[in-house]
Amino acid sequence: MDAEARKIYLARGAEIDILNADSGAVVGQIPVGGSISAITVVLDRKRGFAANSDANTISIFDTQSGTILKTVKLSGKAPSDITFDEGSKRIFVAIRDSGSVIAFDCDSSEIVGSVEFEGKTGSLAANGYGHLFVTAPGTNMIHVVDTNNLKALGDIPADAGKDCTGLALDPVGRRLFVSCADGRIDVIDADNGATFEELKGGFGPAVGLFTFLPTGKDGWKGAAFFANADGTLTAVKMNAFISYEVGATAKLSKGVQSIAFDLRSHHILVAAPANANNWQVLVLSQ
């Protein structure tokens, strides 16, 4: 999502559709090839990064022109998530089946290193001041990586949940929100790893995000959103930095793949399958 440019980047098979965030009209396409599993855009660099889980590549594109600048072949299998870390100016890619995380320099687009784990790697979130959090699907663990030195710093367990896949991070309150396939959402202090709140969410693998809602409407100081594979959208309401509750839930179609937040309209955008051949972007307001 590029809220300023009013663009939505929607992965649709081998292509990225660029949609107008206000009208929903398709305004462009980027042919990437293969099967795109994740996209992130770095607004001030005007660059986008797309992971291709079939070809095991990362495609770097120009957000202005929509042209592919470079495609990098990865050594691991099934890149599954991408995130940008503002502090280290690095792009991190989770290579799911290889259980690793690869770091790219945002400017040169060169791989600068990787971190290996046992098992698989899932969702990513970076705090911008040194730590990258990585879910380990099939477990209740979140790996912590030093974004500068690319070293594993230890694991944080989600106390209540099992098979944790969805991840959202509030870098200011230093809170991790972890959605687990067994229907739990744990709120964790990202500094010491302590789970201090356990909430109920949807079931199955999840995608998530955190955002502050500056309007604070109805007491929402911030929120973490999770869309689970069973079609449940859960909004975790932040009352204070030590107080969270489930503020709302919605039932969407099953198989949600991606979630984004429009900072300008305060809309949640969810990519969900409309039918066997088509995807839809659901726009949800507060």
């Binding site: 912590v144 010491n192 790893g193 302590a194 030590i242």
Partner: protein, 495 residues
């Protein structure tokens, strides 16, 4: 030769009682635990279920009991755990006498268990945020008051603040146990506002009740087990953060200590004790510091020196005015009651060898107690200086400790009633004997090496108070003499 020495050392250790080891975590597997809980309250959900799950994960086989169930339900279990959801009025005193280790965070139940006195806010307190909002925040931090107890060692507790619960105001409780207890963590700057405290088996609890087995009081409440502090991830790699997040580790270690077998305790056998001390003393050097040409007590000093020499020590006499240089070369420093506190100054406070202090008035210079006379230390029977009458007896409050010489209850210490000095050591000490009917006045107590003494002073080596007024040594009863031998033995034993 090396093997021979080790064998001898082990023999000495076993002959006089042995500090039992805490069970390893793996040893908890299959232990039976009675978990006493109250009725579920849907308006106040508790963490009892989480605690049960955690205890099961530690290896315990859990038997649940309602607070109204009879105590016979505890038959055959290895540990009783009482939740604060249990109603203290339903519990009454039914678990008080059971010779089964007990662990509880039910502070209102402390009086019924004889773990504290009965008065709310004085003997125990439950600090909940509804009534004490600011205080409940301040109790998110506790102080590591005793760092040498097995529980403290198990978690590497430091004499500093640590975080008890995750950062949100919750209910926290404390108790004020008798001096026979060990206070491991305390709250709000009050040394005996004990968040975590333990009684060793046979320790004297409130009302003179002898602990029938180990007893542990813990600071949490019914709904905040899940908030006990713990560090994961990068925080676990940082030693300062590891030292801060100790809540859950203390819970686990306290449970493990409670269910571990207590030390056998020394036997009441003065002759065997004397032989043990003699074996331990062989070849060791004692510096005896007293006052040359003392107007009183010279004969008693001489007899103490003879006693030590007869035990096998090489004794060197030093005058109170002699510099302490070279003191660290000795195995034990004995400070006579003939010393003038004014002349002795702060000497021997910092020596890295054990000190056996026979003069109760020196406790503040040695940092064994505070500086407030008649509050932190004082005496019975001193003409012009004490309102309390002379005495000749002591109450043994920790019979399982090596310094008890295997004695129990009230023992006659000296033949005649005379001056008897006392002090109130910090929680870092272990109190072995107090004045009868004045349990807060400790007569015989010791600090382990590394223990936190008064004013956060760290004991450079063992420190023992054994109050012998100028000529009292010559007046010791056989029990008094056994206590003296036991104090000497503990002071020089391995640290």
């Amino acid at each position: 030769m090396k093997i021979g020495l080790m064998t001898l050392a082990a023999a000495v250790f076993f002959a006089h009682g042995m500090a039992a080891q805490m069970l390893a975590p793996s040893d908890l597997h299959g232990k039976r635990l009675l978990f006493v809980v109250g009725e579920a309250d849907k308006h106040h959900p508790s963490d009892d279920g989480l605690v049960k799950k955690h205890l099961q994960a530690m290896g315990f086989n859990i038997v649940e009991a309602a607070d109204t169930d009879p105590a016979t339900k505890a038959q055959g279990v290895d540990l009783i755990v009482i939740s604060s959801t249990a109603d203290p009025y339903a519990l009454k005193t039914k678990y008080r006498e059971l010779p089964i280790p007990l662990f509880t965070w039910n502070q209102p139940a402390y009086p019924g268990l004889a773990m504290t006195g009965p008065h709310l806010h004085t003997d125990y307190e439950v600090v909940d945020p509804a009534h004490f909002f600011a205080r409940s925040y301040s109790e998110l931090y506790a102080f590591g008051a005793n760092t040498t107890h097995e529980i403290a060692r198990a978690v590497d507790l430091k004499n500093q603040l640590f975080g008890t619960f995750y950062l949100r105001p919750g209910t926290v409780g404390w108790g004020c146990p008798t001096p026979a207890a060990t206070v491991i963590a305390n709250f709000e700057g009050y040394p005996f506002r004990a968040g975590l405290f333990v009684y060793e088996k046979n320790a004297v609890m409130f009302g003179g009740v002898s602990a029938p087995a180990r007893r542990v009081g813990f600071f949490m409440a019914s709904d905040n087990f899940h908030l006990l502090t713990v560090a994961y991830g990068p925080a676990l790699q940082d030693p300062d953060l590891r030292d801060w997040y100790k809540g859950l580790a203390l819970f686990d270690a306290s449970i493990r200590w409670a269910v571990s077998p207590p030390p056998a305790g020394p036997r009441d056998d003065a002759s065997a004790l004397h032989s043990t001390v003699a074996a331990a003393a062989k070849g060791k050097k004692v510096m005896f510091v007293g006052r040359k040409k003392t107007p009183e007590g010279a004969e008693a000093d001489q007899h103490i020196i003879e006693r030590l020499t007869e035990l096998g020590f090489y004794v060197t006499f030093r005058d109170q005015m002699d510099p302490q240089a070279g003191a660290d070369q000795y195995d034990l420093i004995v400070l006579s009651a003939t010393n003038s506190k004014y002349k002795l100054s702060n000497k021997y406070r910092d020596v890295s060898v054990p000190v056996l202090c026979l003069e109760g008035l020196l406790v503040d210079t040695l940092r064994m107690a505070g500086r407030n006379r008649y509050v932190d230390y004082g005496e019975h029977g001193e003409e012009k200086e004490s309102d309390d009458p002379a005495d000749n007896s002591l109450l043994i409050v920790n019979p399982n400790h090596e310094m008890s010489a295997g004695l129990t209850g009230i023992v006659q210490f000296t033949k005649e009633k005379n001056v008897l000095k006392w002090a109130r050591p910090s929680p870092g000490a272990t109190v072995v004997a107090t004045l009868p009917n004045m349990m807060e006045q400790a007569a015989i107590f010791g600090y382990e090496k590394g223990a936190t003494m008064d004013g956060y002073f760290i004991a450079p080596a063992r420190r023992v108070l054994f109050p012998l007024d100028n000529d009292a040594f010559d007046d010791l009863t056989p029990d008094g003499l056994a206590l003296f031998d036991a104090a000497v033995l503990w002071a020089i034993s391995r640290q």
